[in-house]
Amino acid sequence: MIDQISKYPALENIFSSLQSVFKDSIIEGRFEKEELSVKVKKESILLILKFLRDEKGFNALSDMIGLDNSSVNKEGQKRFSVLYQLYRFPGFERIRIVIDVDENDPVDSAYPVYKSADWAEREIFDMFGINFSGHPNLRRIYMPDNFDGYPLRKDFPLEGRQ
């Protein structure tokens, strides 16, 4: 599951403490290209983010990324993923938290933990139609409010629907 992580003791340390605190919530941890990517259960995302911020010092949410997995043929794969790209300084470690989301399945908003999640979540909502419960102002950010469809879903044509 985790190979050559011993080269980066800081990341290993984070992962093991995550595993010990959130035993049931951690689904998978992956170390790839100098990055730690941890897949967690959707329900506990807010707690994990809070833990990482307060206990582990991950003081900034760099980016949130939405993924449409509809082209991935894997058993039990949910439709969408939301990725949280965190980093902390000084120390400069990056960690990626991944959650899987079904369609019409709201995710807890990370806004109370990281303020920079505000627009990032709006963007994911705009592009994928993933709902974030608890977000103060969840509106479309790029497309006009009356736009039909979610552009970055795989079933949305590039030229758009006329």
């Binding site: 790029y142 497309m143 006009p144 552009p151 949305f156 590039l158 030229e159 758009g160």
Partner: protein, 167 residues
């Protein structure tokens, strides 16, 4: 009256010349930049290329005082109504230059969000290709526009009732 205008008597022809001389030497662009081309438009304004030689450096921030709309960049579908409205706010006579491939045809963005060519919403006088066009390219286009303005017959529009656009 219409008869006289068709023949373009001497006085009106001279008046035409005078008016178009004024108009072509004082084309004030509307200071509106949409995307990448805006930077090259600003470069054209700047010292190296110096559009001001032709009396064009007065970038008016308000459409009411501008003569020329340089559509500099990608017009998205969200922006298109705004662009159209800005053009409508400009007083006649007004000209439009489509600068760059995006404004001409959507350029490299055949996507759901981009208007495929600004000529779908505005009457374009001069097209300048390039992604983005160099300042030399823009200058060339603007000089072409100058010539075009110089060939117009403003008195016809003033005196004839028929060809007038709806007011």
């Amino acid at each position: 009256m219409a008869d006289i205008i068709e023949k373009q008597p001497f006085v009106l022809a001279r008046l035409d010349e005078l008016i178009t001389w004024g108009q072509k030497n004082s084309i004030w662009p509307f200071g509106s930049g949409l995307a990448c081309c805006a930077i090259e438009m600003i470069s054209t304004l700047m010292a190296r290329y110096d559009i001001s030689r032709f009396g064009m450096e007065v970038m008016r921030p308000s459409p009411r005082q501008a003569d020329l709309f340089i559509v500099a960049g990608t017009v998205t579908k969200k922006m298109a109504p705004v662009v159209r409205r800005l053009w409508e706010q400009m007083p006649d006579p007004k000209w439009v230059v489509a600068m760059g491939n995006c404004a001409i045809s959507g350029g490299p963005f055949p996507t759901y969000a981009v208007l495929q060519g600004v000529d779908k919403i505005l009457p374009v006088d001069v097209y300048i290709s390039g992604c983005p066009p160099t300042p030399q390219g823009l200058l060339h286009g603007l000089l072409m526009l100058r010539d075009k303005v110089g060939r117009e017959h403003p008195t016809k529009e003033i005196f004839s009732v028929h060809d007038r656009p709806n007011k």
